[in-house]
């Protein structure tokens, strides 16, 4: 998809500035002009019945969902990273690594209530072309809870061509950091509104993962994965996204190669750039973070994770602004650069996205509505360093 015009709604939403930057100027200029947008921060103590009113209130604080989604097709990228049947101890995966089904269900319900005519839940399960519903069932979820939450809800695994007839091309504003354009499943094009719901987590390669890093998973492994076709996309995803992590191969030849094959072949350099590119190329209109419960240390479940309960929900119309608030909730400084926590071994994705004109990461420029960040901060590193409970 080549965007040549920007709708008034996109401009209003702030996310459209990413696309505007593509037209208007260079990365450095885009950084100086990186837009800001209000971020709603809500407290929610559990994944029970309080999730719907908490989100409803937050959406109202942002101006209401209706103006964004009424009569529109909405695509929601949810974060389901890691094996569905893994658990941290006995905790269901929605309380640690994945966005909780209650948050997804509540969002779908409120989007439907606000007039969305079609809602597509999207994720690219690792190495798999399995139906997304089956992936959810493996985690113990019942996808019918989503399909009955709004009038027309669909599911699509976007790790391959899926139900589309061709991949959709998304050029990156300013030419991009890593790739000049990305070819994605049709669902990312065939929508009017794009929502990203991430989890409030650290990430071993990218430092943090929230609404922006969630979009790393929109890349189809049939093109960008280990087992991708050489001349053309594979029929099925046969591997993970190591080529983006390490640059060990180029994508299928039908897609554009990376800009600089001599750039560092290192995940801490490449993954943040790919994420920044993606959120600039496929603007997020509504960014959300599930921080009611989560875990420390990494994006997937392993022996070093610890369960945390920030009791926080974050939402906004600019993904970088939202993630900057999210970083602060974990005790991190979104302005930190490589070498400082949580970016000890990587570049700061939010800075790179800011350079592409997506949004500002400077909390001084971001209006936080609702709860104060200080009232919900959980220092992930402090919790992670504490001795394990017997």
């Amino acid at each position: 998809m080549t965007k040549t015009s920007i709708s008034r709604r996109e401009l209003l939403a702030g996310a459209g500035w990413a696309a505007a930057g593509a037209v208007l100027g260079s990365p450095s200029r885009a950084r100086a002009e990186a837009p800001t947008a209000p971020v709603a921060l809500g407290r929610c103590d559990s994944y029970g019945s309080e999730v719907v009113p908490a989100l409803n209130k937050m959406f109202d604080q942002l101006g209401g969902l209706g103006r964004l989604v009424k009569g529109k097709t909405v695509a929601i990228k949810i974060n389901l990273t890691g094996n569905p049947d893994d658990r941290l101890g006995y905790l269901p995966i929605g309380q640690t690594a994945w966005v909780h089904p209650a948050v997804i269900g509540a969002t779908v319900h409120l989007l439907g209530q606000a007039g969305a005519t079609r809602i597509r839940l999207l994720e690219s399960p690792w190495k798999s072309a399995e139906p997304l519903e089956e992936y959810m069932i493996l985690a113990g979820w019942d996808p019918r809870e989503f399909s009955t939450a709004a009038p027309r809800v669909e599911f699509e695994n976007t790790n391959f061509l899926g139900r589309g007839k061709e991949y959709a091309r998304f050029p990156v504003p300013h030419g991009g950091h890593l790739f000049p354009a990305y070819d994605l499943n049709h669902s990312y094009r065939d929508c009017d509104v794009f929502v990203s719901i991430g989890k409030l987590k650290e990430h071993l390669t990218a430092g943090v993962t929230m609404s922006a890093k969630n979009c790393f998973g929109i890349t189809p492994c049939t093109i960008y994965g280990d087992g991708a076709g050489v001349d053309e996309p594979g029929l099925l995803p046969l591997g993970g996204r190591m080529p983006i992590h390490s640059g060990n191969r180029q994508p299928s030849k039908t897609s554009l190669p990376e800009k600089d094959p001599k750039s560092p072949r290192e995940g801490g350099y490449r993954v943040p750039r790919a994420v920044a590119d993606l959120v600039a190329a496929r603007p997020i209109h509504l960014a959300m973070i599930d921080g009611i419960e989560s875990m420390t240390h990494a994006e997937t479940i392993g022996p070093r994770n610890k369960h945390v309960t920030p009791h926080a929900l974050v939402a906004g119309l600019n993904a970088v602004c939202v993630d900057a608030v999210g970083a602060a909730l974990m005790g991190f400084d979104a302005m930190a650069d490589r070498g400082k926590a949580p970016f000890e071994t990587c570049d700061n994705t939010l800075r790179l996205a800011e350079e592409l004109g997506v949004g500002t990461r400077d909390l001084k420029r971001i209006e936080v509505i609702g709860e104060k960040i200080s009232s919900l901060v959980v220092d992930y590193r402090k919790v992670g360093a504490a001795p394990a409970k017997a």
């Binding site: 049947d85 658990r87 089956e134 099925l236 046969l238």
Partner: protein
């Protein structure tokens, strides 16, 4: 050498070369009651019989690899040899197995061989010959795992010791004797629960094939890989499929490229019209034209309505049994898995039912040694039983006796949290 012990009570042990009648005392208190000798010259026969043991010459069992077993013989026991040693192995599949945040370990289990053998010789005892790999130093756990992996399907491992362990036991080495004792304890655990061997394997899928000739590789690998993903199935030999009532199945997988006979076509069509799902090879699909095309969520398949059920067929010929197993699971839907297990990537799950229908059994064979994922709690496994049920009791080798397992409310769901166990656990579930 006529048997005085009923075939279903025999616990076979391959008598090691170099062991003498003096070593029969090692069997005191052990469930082992049948010695398999390679050489009739091994002079233990009289002493063994005097000790109440049965002795059989190895060749008298007509042992053979799976493809060469004579299923129609009159012997009450079928001895299948060259079965892979049950163990967890480094994952070798895929283009980049070492990369990325997820992945499951590769496991060799004897269970699919046992299920196939039981299907082909339903009235016989299935004895499995899997020899300890010579290139590994095996722990007591490895031997216990071999016993449990075979026992979980109602089969018996024809116990064989690696030469080093056999020599160590014979010489009275303390560590070797401890391993031997653990093996004996493991055998005793299963002998106390011998009734479970009569339970019938259950699952949502029936797999029909000749499992032989040109069909052997694809069909047996489907059995292997379906079991690995805990897709629970019943093996249905094509030669007897006409007499199988297909009861309790949600789906039938027709693996072979040949079209079914007219009789089987009628039977399978009736199964689909009654609400079942037929998953058939592309070549066989023409036998089941169905009624109208339906949307199919599984990539690469056509799905057609067929009465109350449906028929699914691949758009290309199957060439990889991994995808046949995976796609079949998705076509049926995991929604119908009898058990949903969490943190179970190294577990092999078995589901069987009492012939009277009063109880079911969910067995777990743990292939991973030591502690694994799940954080500070170590090897914690939780599960949901996805069918109506009553009380649940857990049996582990560690506890020795059964004890109640209380349900735990997790959100809207009821789950069970398994206590730590090392090799094997079983849930006895009241209907």
């Amino acid at each position: 050498m006529a048997s005085e012990i009923a075939p279903n009570r025999l616990v076979p042990f391959r008598w090691p070369a170099g062991w003498t009648p003096d070593h029969l005392k090692l069997l005191a208190g052990s469930p082992i009651n049948c010695l398999l000798i390679n050489d009739p010259g091994q002079s233990i026969d009289a002493a063994a019989r005097a000790a109440g043991l049965e002795v059989r010459e190895w060749s008298s069992l007509s042992p053979a690899p799976l493809a060469k077993v004579r299923w129609d013989g009159s012997a009450p026991i079928v001895a299948v040899t060259e079965v892979a040693w049950p163990q967890i192995k480094p994952m070798e599949r895929g283009a980049n197995a070492e990369a990325g945040p997820t992945g499951v370990p590769w496991i060799d289990s004897t269970s699919w061989v046992a299920r196939l053998a039981a299907s082909r010789a339903p009235s016989k005892q299935v004895w499995l010959g899997c020899d300890p790999p010579g290139d590994q130093v095996l722990t007591a756990r490895a031997y216990r795992l071999a016993i449990a992996d075979c026992a979980a399907t109602g089969a018996r491992w024809m116990i064989s010791l690696d030469p080093k362990l056999a020599a160590g036991i014979a010489a009275g080495n303390a560590e070797a004797l401890a391993t031997w004792q653990q093996m004996s304890d493991t055998l005793a655990f299963f002998e106390k629960r011998a009734a479970w061997r009569s339970y019938r394997q259950r699952g949502p899928l029936g797999v029909i094939s000749t499992f032989a000739g040109d069909n052997e590789f694809m069909s047996t690998e489907v059995l292997n890989l379906a079991a690995r993903r805990n897709l629970l199935y019943r093996v249905i030999d094509r030669s007897v499929a006409g007499s199988d009532d297909l009861g309790g199945l949600r789906a039938v997988l027709w693996v072979d490229p040949e079209k079914p006979s007219a009789t089987l076509t009628t039977k399978l069509s009736a199964f689909a019209r009654g609400g079942g799902l037929l998953i058939v090879s592309r070549a066989a699909a023409a036998a089941f034209p169905g009624e109208r095309n339906l949307d199919c969520a599984v990539a690469g398949y056509d799905l057609r309505a067929f009465g109350k059920g449906g028929v699914a067929s691949p758009q290309r010929d199957w060439d990889d049994p991994y995808f046949v197993a995976l796609d079949s699971h998705n076509l049926i839907s995991r929604r119908y898995d009898p058990v949903r297990v969490f943190n179970g990537s190294s577990l092999w799950v078995h589901y069987s039912a009492d012939p009277r229908g009063t109880a079911s059994l969910i067995q777990f064979v743990e292939f991973a040694g030591g502690r694994r994922g799940g954080g500070v709690s170590g090897s914690v496994v939780s599960l949901r039983i996805q069918y109506p049920h009553g009380a649940v009791q857990i049996h582990t080798m560690e506890s020795g006796t059964a004890r109640p397992l209380e349900p735990v409310r997790v959100g809207k769901d009821v789950e069970y949290h398994l206590p730590s166990f090392s090799v094997y656990a079983a849930l006895e579930v009241t209907a």
